[in-house]
């Protein structure tokens, strides 16, 4: 079985958010995730892609297949933008906090749907959110 190469996609419109979901769906299916895990990962990706588009002013996503030390397959997705960055990360990850009129579930909600969540941000430079989910 060959691992598909990483795929990248620019996020510059609402349509792209839908494209990200489709890309992640294919990757999650290929990794052999259960239906529930697939749904969780796609939903997390949808939230983060919207963040990239709405708050980051557009950016890109990279979806890749990974294998952990115990040989488990997983999918890693990185969203990056060159937007304003997040001044207060703790606050942004707080339940119900929002800066853009959403329900504020974007970051904190997405974090609960994945196994690993990493946030790198610099004010004025941009933000990169990387999430990973492993097959059970």
């Amino acid at each position: 079985m060959t691992t598909p190469p990483p795929e990248e996609l620019a996020i510059g419109s609402g349509d792209d958010v839908v494209r990200v979901r489709q890309l992640v769906r294919t990757a999650a299916g290929h990794a052999g995730m259960s239906l529930v895990d697939q749904t969780k990962l796609i939903t997390a990706a949808s939230e983060l892609a919207r963040n990239t588009f709405v708050y980051g002013g557009g950016g890109a996503v990279r979806v890749e297949h990974v294998v952990n030390a115990r040989g488990r397959a997983g999918v890693r997705i990185a969203f990056s933008d060159r937007g304003p960055g997040i001044p207060d990360v703790d606050q942004a990850l707080t339940e119900g906090w929002t800066s853009g009129g959403g329900l504020g579930l974007g970051l904190s909600g997405a974090r609960r749907l994945v196994d690993e969540f990493e946030l790198e941000t610099e004010v004025g430079k941009g933000t990169t959110v990387t999430v990973t989910k492993w097959t059970r």
Binding site: G14, D15, V17, V18, R21, Q22, R25, L35, V36, Q38, T39, K40, I42, T43, S46, E47, R50, E95, G102, L103, L105, G106, S108, G109, R112, L113
Partner: protein
């Protein structure tokens, strides 16, 4: 952008979502529904999401908005056909749909609204 069609059955408006919803479609659906409720004087709204594979916070929020909006216009909203994986994900996401009523399928949703189904001859106990 694709628009989601709204069907009228008796005094119930039926929205069956068959596409992968983009945010703009979600917003126009909200507007279209508000217009239609006023125009038709509908008493109920059924949103059928049997075919929907993911509901994120934006789409989830639409259900809540439509429900409160239609309530203001004296119509009840029922979301029907949510898949188990979608329901589990929504709970994990931390999104409660607030006052949105839900039913397993279209028929049970219609019954919940007290609306008569088009007569199919299927007898009820």
């Amino acid at each position: 952008m694709e628009r989601v069609p709204i069907l009228k059955i008796g005094d119930v408006l039926l929205v069956s979502i068959q596409i992968d919803l983009q945010d703009q479609s979600v917003l126009s659906l909200q507007e279209d529904l508000a217009d239609k409720i006023v125009k038709t004087g509908a008493r109920g709204v059924i949103i059928d999401i049997t075919a929907v594979e993911i509901v994120d916070s934006f789409i989830g929020r639409m259900f809540a908005t439509i429900a409160s909006m239609s309530r203001l216009m004296d119509a009840e909203t029922v979301v029907v056909g949510m898949r188990p994986a979608v329901a589990i994900t929504l709970v994990e996401l931390g999104l409660s749909l607030g006052g949105v009523r839900t039913a397993l399928d279209l028929e049970k949703g219609m019954r919940l609204l007290g609306a008569a189904l088009p007569d199919t001859g299927a007898g009820r106990r």
